[in-house]
Each structure stands twice: as structure tokens, then as C-alpha cells.
Amino acid sequence: MNDIWAEAMVEAFRDMMKHVALFFPKLLALVSFIVLGVVIGHAVKAVLQRLLKALRIDVLSERWGLQAALVKAGFKQPPSQIVGRLAFWIVFVIFLFMGVDALDLPATTGMMSQLLGFLPSVVAAGLLLLVGVLLANFFAETTLIATVNAQIQEARVIANLVRWGILLLTAAMVLTQLGIAKEIVIAAFSIIFGGVVLALSIALGLGGRNIARDALERRWRKTKEEPDDMAHL
């Protein structure tokens, strides 16, 4: 009896030690991948930042007005730093998943290949989102300034419509790119966009009929009745 008990204990202990012995290198591999991810991520970040600085990307983006647009979109750092940080996180996440994959857990099997398969879509969606936000801000600002200079009283409303129109389109494109409920997104976008246009038409046609007529009359009369022959130059 004692022998059987001792054997069972030893067997169990040996099994556990065997598992630990088998798992420990995998854990070590995970830690190593994390450390490597941090080191290589920082190296890639530094190299990219130097390269972008050498290419004068920050100066050029300032010259093209991209820097100001980024600030408006909530990015306070220059493009070289944003790209550097993004590169760091991409490298780090790749290494992290490699480490998790190395653990060989049933739940995480194939995670790395899935991630690598999904990564291009995520990067493309991220870029789409960035470009969409930048364009939305830029065109909203262009519209606002143009309508204010044309003395259209509803300038802010028009500018906001432009901004949200572009953002809505961007959101639909990003979700489609990520493959998240494609059909629902397209249907929702069509319904919302169509709904907004219909609501505006109805609002203008019924509720705002008089306001629209007054506004048009005001503008028409302004140009017809009050010519201003000032030469500014």
C-alpha cells in the first residue's frame, strides 16, 4: 500500500516537474520575446525617426499644413514621432504574440498566423482612419472659412455637416476594411446617410421653408440692391 502511494506521489511529482520543465523554456521564450520586442521595437523606432528626420518629414509636414491638421485631430507630436511610436507598438505586439504562440497553449494556437493575416487590414484601417480624420478637419475648416467670408449665416452648420459626413464615410470604410459586419455597416451607412439627407430635405421643405426663402431673398437682394464699388487693392 505504502509503495503504491509513494509511487503515485513520485509519479505525480515527476509529471508535474516534467510539465514545469517543459513549460519553463516556453515561459522563458515568452519573456525573451517580450524583451526582444521592447529592444527591437525601440531600435526600429529610433532608426525610423532618424530616417524621417533626415528626410525632413517634420519640416515638410509643417510646410504642407499636415502638422497643424494632426494637432487638430488630437496628435500633439510631429509625424516622425507618431510613426516611430506606431512602429514600436507594431513590432512589440508581433513579438508579444510570438511569445504567446511559443507557450503552445491550446487557446492561443495559431494566434500568430491569425494576427499576421489580420495585420495588413488593421494597418490599412488605421491609415484610413487617420486620413479620414485629417480630411474631415481640413474640409470642415475650408468650408467654414469660405462660408463665413461669403457671409452665410449657417456657416458652422454647413462646416459641421461636411465634417460629420466625411467622418461617417470614414467610419464605414474602416469597419468594412476590418471586415466587421460588412453588410450591416453598408446598410447602416446607407440608412444613416440617406436618412440625414431626407431629414434635411423634409426640414427645409416643411419646417424651414420660410427661413430658406428669407435667406435666399436676403442674399439675392443683397447682391442686387446694394452694389459696393470699393476697390480693395
Partner: protein, 422 residues
């Protein structure tokens, strides 16, 4: 030097061509009604004032559909040496606006400068073909200083009504004067004269970037003439009457004209930073005083434009203006139209803040320049309200006071410009 911009046909014509002493360039685009008379008066003026000099009249045309070059040729007859060049209109030129209404104007001036250089001309006179007030005395007024007094550049000085050229009087001219220390009228377009030296060392050798094409050549060489410390004169040419052509949206006009000055501030930073005070440039002809006529001015609409800017563009102005300036601008919104006042000191601060924001690229540059329009309307409205009961002499004094203010407040600009650069 700059030969690449000369069309192939002109280059062929230039080879073996007889030199000219005076090159008269006439810029046209569908100006059949006015340009033959302008060409005739200029040819007659040159023949009378400079009988010993060889004159060549060159019509730079942007592709008129009404037979302008042929009409000029017919009017001048075979006695006058006359060339026609069709200048190209490319890229940004389409967007440019000038009172001459000639697209590709900067290309035309560059071609004229190259032709004058090739033909070894001592003086080059450039005149707009849509003018109706050209007289045969103009060649003498504009070209004589170049030929006899070794002057490099003669700028036009036109007699204008009190509220004509408000952007020029309240911003372009006083800012240029404060920056470069020379009191010039800053009248864009009309007529200019250049010396051979100015053409060779300045017009053909200066870097020619996209912004210059975007903002227009008149502001460019006017600023260059005062910034480069060359001998500049102004010629009192009387009134400028011209065949009006559409000038487009006010905000575009403001962006183009002010953008030119701001852009060149960066190029000539070392020149203007140390300049203090200003001197009047010598004048030929009768000094052009301010006319008494007011014309039709809709002050209510200008105040409305400013108030709408105050309501809708505040977030942009907050980025552009300094905290102190912004606060003062905010306080302007409470006045009734008749009592509306925009203090001159505040206007100067606004202009300097916009120049600094342009330099620092705080916003997309076109947006920034166009966001100035409501503020300009506000100041102009205040200027009109404050001076409409006064006679022309007092209005002129008011403009002079504003120019002085631009000079005295220049340290505000210089300090911040340096601070932003560090």
C-alpha cells in the same frame, strides 16, 4: 539666365535681332478696346521723349480671342518696331487675380525681362493693356529716371479716391514701409520701369518658387525693389482708369496680396529685422494726393462680415492671435454699427500676429490668410465710419498715422519673430 521661359519662336527671333535701348512691354488679354490706344500713346511718348533711342514694343498676350495683337499692330503701323509674343499660362497662373486681368502675368514679365536682357535694353517699361488713362507723358516719367539718373526701378503712384485701395492703404503699404523702411505707394499693376541692372541682377536671378507664382509677380518685384536696397523712384501718373475685369472673391484677393508680403518676409528676414523708421522714395511727376470721392461703401455689410467672423471663426483666431490681441478683438463685438470702432493699434497687432502665425505655420496657410478677411472688413468699416465726415486731407493724415503705428510697433513683431525662431 531665365531663357528657359522664353518660347522657342521668340528665341529664334532673338538670334541676330537688332538691339533695343528701350523695351516697352504691353500685357494684354482680350483688350482690343484699350490696348491699341495704349500702345500708340507709349510709342508716341517714347519717340518724343527719347528720339535718339531705339524702341521696341512687345505685346505679351495671353491668347486673346478678340484680335488684340492684330489691332495693336494695325494701330502702330509699320513705322514702329513691334513684336507679338503669346505667353504661356500654366498651373497656378490660372488662379491668380490682378486688375490687369491677364492670366500668366508673371510668365509675361519674365519673358519681357529675358527679351530685354537679350537685346541689351537699357530700360524696360511694362504697362497693362487694359488701362484707359495712359498718356504719352508716361514713358518720360517712368523711363527717364532709369536712363538719366541710374535708377533701378520706377513704381507707379496713382491718384485714388479716399476709400479706393483700402487693403493697400491699411495693410500692404504701411507693412512694407515698416518692414523695409521705404515709403512706396504699393500700387499693384499699371506700369513699371526697370533698369538693365535690375533685370539682370534681380528679376532673372532671384529664386522663382511656387509661392511667387501663386501670389503674383507685382507684389514680388515691388517688395524685392525695396528689400534689396536698389534705387527706387515713384512716378505720379495721375488717375488709373481701366477696363474693369472681375477680381473674384475678396478673401482670395486678400490671401493673394497679403500672402505675397508674408511669404517674402521669410525670404528677406535679415533685411527687414534691423530696419528702423522709413524714408520717402524720390518722386517724379505730380505727387498723387487722395481724391475726395467716397464711392458706394456698404459699412453695415462690412461690420456684419466682421461680427460673423467673431461668431464663427473664433477657434481659428484663438490659434492665430496672441492672448492679448484675441481678448481685445473679443471686446469689439459689443458695439452698435454706428459706434463700431476697431482701434488702429489693435489692427497693427492683428496683422503682426497673422504674420507670425504664417511664419510658424499654425494653420494651413491659405486658411490662415483667408481667416484675415473678416478682421480686415472690421477695420475697414471702422476706418470708413471714423473718416467719412472728414475731408480728404484728414483721411490722408489718418492713413499716415496708421503707417507710423506700424513702424513704432515693429519691435512687437521682431521680438516675437526671433522668439519663435529660437
Amino acid at each position: 539666365m531665365g531663357e528657359w521661359c522664353v518660347p522657342e519662336t521668340v528665341r529664334e527671333r532673338l538670334d541676330g535681332s537688332e538691339p533695343a535701348d528701350i523695351l516697352v512691354g504691353l500685357l494684354t488679354f482680350n483688350d482690343k478696346i484699350t490696348s491699341p490706344g495704349v500702345a500708340h500713346d507709349l510709342a508716341e511718348g517714347c519717340a518724343r521723349s527719347f528720339p535718339q533711342r531705339r524702341t521696341l514694343i512687345v505685346n505679351c498676350d495671353a491668347g486673346s480671342q478678340d484680335g488684340t495683337p492684330q489691332a495693336i499692330e494695325q494701330r502702330l503701323g509699320a513705322v514702329t518696331r513691334f513684336w507679338t509674343i503669346r505667353h504661356p499660362v500654366v498651373g497656378a497662373s490660372f488662379k491668380l487675380m490682378s486688375e490687369s486681368g491677364v492670366p500668366g502675368r508673371e510668365q509675361a514679365v519674365r519673358i519681357l525681362a529675358s527679351v530685354a536682357d537679350k537685346l541689351n535694353a537699357t530700360a524696360c517699361l511694362v504697362v497693362d493693356g487694359n488701362l484707359k488713362s495712359v498718356e504719352s507723358t508716361w514713358p518720360q516719367l517712368l523711363v527717364e529716371p532709369v536712363l538719366d539718373k541710374d535708377v533701378d526701378c520706377v513704381l507707379p503712384w496713382f491718384r485714388r479716391n479716399r476709400y479706393e485701395g483700402t487693403l493697400t492703404n491699411t495693410l500692404l503699404a504701411p507693412l512694407t514701409r515698416a518692414l523695409y523702411g521705404k515709403r512706396i505707394p504699393y500700387h499693384l499693376g499699371g506700369a513699371y520701369a526697370f533698369s538693365r541692372r535690375f533685370i539682370r541682377s534681380m528679376l532673372l536671378t532671384q529664386p522663382w518658387d511656387e509661392e511667387i507664382a501663386q501670389y503674383g509677380i507685382d507684389g514680388w518685384f515691388t517688395t524685392m525693389a525695396v528689400a534689396q536696397q536698389v534705387e527706387v523712384y515713384r512716378a505720379g501718373l495721375g488717375q488709373r482708369l481701366h477696363q474693369a475685369k472681375p477680381m473674384g472673391e475678396l478673401s482670395t484677393v486678400v490671401a493673394q496680396a497679403v500672402g505675397c508680403v508674408f511669404h517674402l518676409m521669410e525670404r528677406y528676414q535679415e533685411k527687414w529685422e534691423s530696419v528702423r523708421g522709413s524714408v520717402a522714395v524720390p518722386t517724379v511727376g505730380t505727387p498723387a494726393e487722395l481724391g475726395g470721392e467716397t464711392g458706394s461703401v456698404n459699412v453695415q455689410r462690412m461690420v456684419g462680415g466682421f461680427l460673423q467672423g467673431l461668431r464663427d471663426l473664433l477657434p481659428l483666431w484663438q490659434v492665430i492671435l496672441s492672448a492679448e490681441t484675441f481678448q481685445q478683438v473679443l471686446e469689439l463685438g459689443v458695439e452698435e454699427t454706428d459706434h463700431f470702432r476697431f482701434p488702429s493699434g489693435l489692427w497693427v497687432q492683428v496683422v503682426y500676429d497673422f504674420a507670425l502665425a504664417y511664419h510658424d505655420r499654425l494653420l494651413h496657410r491659405e486658411h490662415l490668410l483667408k481667416a484675415l478677411t473678416p478682421l480686415y472688413l472690421g477695420y475697414t468699416a471702422s476706418f470708413v465710419i471714423g473718416t467719412r465726415a472728414q475731408d480728404a486731407e484728414l483721411v490722408e493724415q489718418e492713413i499716415e498715422r496708421l503707417a507710423d503705428l506700424f513702424e513704432t510697433m515693429k519691435p512687437y513683431l521682431v521680438q516675437r519673430w526671433r522668439w519663435h525662431d529660437e
